[in-house]
Symmetry: none
DNA sequence: CCCCCATGTGAATGGAGTGTGAACTGGGGC
DNA sequence: GCCCCAGTTCACACTCCATTCACATGGGGG
């Protein structure tokens, strides 16, 4: 996906934080000249300080025939009235200070509606393992894994909490999700099937902790 | 100027107050039938309570060919994540409780801009499949498909979100409408009819994800 | 008014997925 | 070296799910 254009350079720290949190790639520019090279999936223009300069930048973006990326304007609540005569300069605005969730929702809406790019996919990754939560698919070292529902759920849970040890009882209640009498073997068997499908070289991703349970990946406390 | 359409009837009191304050004329309706008579400069859909009904109303607005009024959605901050797959239903949203000044600014922006995102092409394509949203026709490999209304709607929804898995419940609520009671078998049967009409070679476009639901086409593996 | 087509629902079927018991393995402690 | 315990592996039975068929409903057009 194309990165997101930010103005000014550097952007406000809350913008950077929200972008990183949402997993977008971005790039900051200080003037319109720099904005004309490259493709952008959206542009964020912070008009909290030096509003006039920001408006000028937005106008330049609009005039540049190449870039038709949608513009998200950041503005103080006290400055909302200044938008009244500038509707042509932006596509959406966000009142600062903003909540990161609202910010991301507006950004996503702009990008999706603008048809500029696809939404970032929800992924769980660990090393060479990638779980696509939207498509229920798993890939390791580029090779697709053909997992059943329970195998997928178990792997997702483990990979979402790498390095942490779970007892069989915990796994049964968190993955299977119901009160369970006996049958701790169930977990073992599913772990075995997972290991065999992960293949020889990655089977060690799921480690046995004797007398305790299983954990995924390396411990955070060092090998 | 044409009045502003409000849903539900009566609208939330804060909406009424803000509209009166800003001097807009408005009218409230309780269902989509009432919305089809008359011209509106914008539509405000409050989805704070009974979000599903509100989404269904917004969808009906979008489908009604007559009304092209831009839609402003009111939504709780905690419900922002529900917007993720519903971007086509609205043009802008406002998080409640809102400040009247922000509300008015968004409304004005919508009206002035006239709803900013006209979809450039009314086509949905995936591989050899082409859906013409204006003429309600479907073509695959150059061969026209004779689809019924529900089959078309289902295929449109799936093809608009390729690679993503949807549960039967999600499909029922998103394609059939909200709070549809009854058989998940309904989805299965329609999928089967779609597959048979797609023909042997393309039947695999709709994939079954066991214990989960259905998905369309291949997965998207974000960067 | 009747027919036809679109749509929804229940039941039968076949098969993939899952759980369980039992045999097997391996390692640590005595 | 032996025993015991925990984990692993295997085979099989059974449950649950998707598919498919057959039929009921109901609305629109001829």
């Amino acid at each position: 996906m194309e990165p997101i254009l930010c103005y000014p350079d550097p952007p406000p720290s809350e913008v950077v934080r929200a972008l990183e949190l949402a997993g977008y790639s971005w790039e900051a520019v200080g003037d319109e000249a720099a904005a004309n090279d490259g493709l952008w999936s959206a542009a964020i223009v912070a008009a909290e300080e030096e509003a006039e300069a920001a408006f000028a930048f937005a106008r330049a973006l609009r005039n540049a025939d190449a870039s038709v990326a949608p513009v998200l304007l950041l503005v103080r609540g006290s400055a909302l009235s200044e938008l009244e005569t500038r509707h042509e300069l932006f596509d959406d605005f966000c009142v600062t200070p903003f909540h990161p969730v609202e910010f991301e929702a507006r950004l996503r809406h702009l990008i999706v509606r603008g048809g500029w790019s696809e939404t970032p996919t929800e992924l769980v990754t660990y090393g060479e393992l990638v779980l696509n939560l939207e498509t229920y698919q798993a890939i390791i070292s580029g090779r697709p894994l053909d997992l059943t529902y329970m195998e997928y759920e178990l792997l997702k849970f483990l990979a979402s909490n790498p390095g942490r040890v779970f007892t069989r009882e915990t796994l049964l209640s968190r993955v299977w999700g119901y009160e369970y009498y006996g049958g701790a073997r169930t977990v073992d068997v599913h772990v075995r099937r997972l290991r065999s499908k992960l293949g020889e070289e990655h089977a060690a991703l799921i480690q046995t902790v004797r007398s305790v349970g299983y954990k995924f990946g390396e411990s955070r406390w060092g090998a």
